[in-house]
Amino acid sequence: METALAVLVAILVTSSLYLMTSGHMVRFLFGLLLLSNAANLVIFAAGRLTYAEPALIAPGALAPAGSVANALPQALVLTAIVISFGLLAFALVLVYRAHQSLGTVDSDEMRVAEPRDGGEA
């Protein structure tokens, strides 16, 4: 399954970067969401997969029975998901506000900070 995940990651990354290079900021956001998912899958797969054995310990037991899924990458992914959520939410609001103020979501049209005639004449 890890191998399949590697292929899936490649697809996700490709798709997300294709979106991110479009110059359309809404597509960029979509790409970002995809990319975060890809990163999470990388971490998850890198910690190796165990089928259907959550890292839970039965009541009364001191340790999990048998081999269970690797809990550490899960914790990392969980952290990463929440962080990505924060970043993405901010980015979304930013794009929304940029559109509100600049009137465009086409990044090529966003030339206020670096005007076309910028620099020394």
Partner: protein
């Protein structure tokens, strides 16, 4: 150990407290300044301890390494935290007269101290995933600060800054994941051992390449620095000053840390690449500055150029070169933040940052001129200011290592730096104001203390680092020695039992 958590805790606590004090501007400001001062004091105590006792470490939650997260400070970390404290105090004081009350109400102070927490966390952690987390704290706080104010230019700049930084941040996460998958650990001291033990070159190189990329973006290296000149001139002055001083240096710090501690064995392979990158970073940055006509845009490009020197120090990878890189980092944080502060005063007095629309300051405010000259000349590497020693050590290290071309580039870039800094001097200070009827808006007493006070303080530090370079250099030497032979660091990290 309290000393290691204190900087993070103070910054985050201040962030929370100022949020609770959202209704009372004076209280917010007092808390903010107080928090910065406390951060500075804590950082000085930390640095004193590290200087005396060598690297120290503390386990979080009492879980020993490599199972829990360990914070650790060697001389480099401690020095970086001290500089953070200095810049924090300067920025919060400057912000008293610079920040829009509306921005203060919605969380400027919290975001600022959040940024500081992220920066301190990044400097102090000895865990690679935790480093990612602090990077994100820093990043999101910087996002907020950058866009605070909501002007069109800010939104535009923020879009580019956010977009590019988010790309690199995901690369960081992927790199951490891969490294964990290959080694089974996240503790940076243990990673040193584990990466050495790895048989698979592809894994080592791929992760190294990813770290190089992601930290390279944060550090604004050629050719991935786009986000910096696109945005650094847009926020309020206090914010851009702290960005200019601190943020890229966190990237440089991370590069130094990761490539001396974990990937030091790969450095010979990477040297050619890093030297080229350093040279091109220096050159493109300074040429960018030469093409600009706006105070903060000139200064922003200079940041890039100066980062090149630091990376040159890392690339050479000799003890002296690392000394140079570290000294450069410390010097540049102070000087660059100060230049942005002065740029703010220029704008405040002349009403513009566009050099064509400024002028007359040498006649009107000779003291401001002197206060500009100190960091400007220091940045240009004029002795006996701090920048000279920084440049001296890096160039000497290049020459010692017989890398003559990069040494030549470093010197040439020094000249171009003088050229582009002189532009500000010629236009804003020497040239008469284009409007003959122009009258500078007088500053109130509070304003001049808040705006000029930090400038004076940082200028004094610059002069002090220049005139009394020895103790600062000694710190850099200790730091470099600990990087070249991180045994003390790894022992502190791995041996830090609860």
């Amino acid at each position: 150990m309290v000393l290691l958590t204190a900087p993070i805790l103070i910054a985050l606590s201040t962030a929370v407290l100022t949020l609770f004090a959202a209704g009372d501007r004076r209280l917010q400001q007092s808390l903010s300044v107080l928090g910065s001062v406390a951060l500075l004091v804590a950082s000085l105590l930390l640095a004193g301890t590290v200087l005396n006792d060598g690297p120290i470490a503390a386990t979080m939650g009492g879980w020993s390494a490599p199972f829990g997260i360990t914070l650790a400070a060697d001389m480099l970390s401690a020095a970086m935290v001290v500089i953070t404290g200095v810049i924090a105090v300067a920025t919060t004081v400057y912000g008293l007269a610079d920040i829009d009350p509306a921005a203060e109400r919605v969380g400027y102070h919290s975001l600022l101290h959040g940024l500081l927490a992220g920066v301190c966390g990044a400097f102090l952690t000895a865990d690679i995933f935790n480093l990612y987390v602090w990077f994100e704290v820093m990043l999101i706080a910087s996002f907020g600060l950058l866009a605070l104010g909501g002007t069109r230019a800010q939104l535009d700049g923020a879009v580019k800054y956010v977009a590019l930084n988010l790309v690199s941040t995901v690369a960081f996460l992927i790199a951490v994941g891969l490294l964990y998958g290959a080694t089974g650990t996240l503790n940076m001291a243990e990673l040193r051992i584990a990466v050495r033990a790895l048989d698979d070159d592809t894994v080592v190189l791929v992760t190294a390449a990813m770290f190089l990329f992601t930290f390279g973006v944060k550090a604004a290296l050629f050719p991935v620095f786009f986000w910096l000149p696109a945005s650094y001139h847009t926020p309020s002055v206090a914010v851009s000053a702290i960005f200019a001083g601190l943020l890229t240096k966190v990237g440089v710090y991370a590069l130094i840390r990761v490539f001396t501690l974990i990937y030091d064995t790969e450095m010979p392979l990477l040297q050619g690449l890093l030297l080229t990158v350093a040279a091109l970073t220096m050159l493109t940055g300074v040429l960018g500055a030469a093409a600009q006509n706006d105070v903060r845009r000139i200064l922003s490009f200079h940041i890039i150029s100066q980062i090149g020197y630091m990376i040159l120090g890392l690339a050479l990878f000799t003890p002296l070169a690392l000394v140079g890189a570290i000294f450069y980092v410390i010097h540049h944080i102070i000087v660059k933040a100060n230049l942005f502060f002065v740029g703010g005063v220029i704008r405040r007095l002349t009403g513009s940052e566009d050099l064509a629309r400024t002028g007359g300051l040498w006649a009107r405010s000779p003291w401001l001129a002197v206060l500009f000259l100190v960091p400007a000349l220091s940045l240009a590497g004029i002795p006996p200011l701090s920048g000279f020693w920084a440049k001296f050590v890096v160039v000497k290290a290049s020459l010692d290592a017989e890398h003559y071309v990069v040494a030549a580039v470093a010197l040439l870039v020094g000249l171009l730096t003088i050229y582009s800094m002189s532009k500000i001097w010629l236009e804003a200070f020497w040239k008469a104001h284009p409007d003959p009827a122009f009258e500078a808006r007088p500053m109130s007493g509070v304003e001049s203390v808040a705006l000029v006070g930090p400038v004076i303080a940082l200028a004094l530090i610059t002069v002090a680092i220049g005139l009394a370079a020895a103790p600062f250099l000694d710190v850099a030497i200790v730091a470099a020695e600990q990087l070249v032979d991180p045994e003390a660091y790894t022992r502190a990290v791995l041996g830090a039992l609860p």
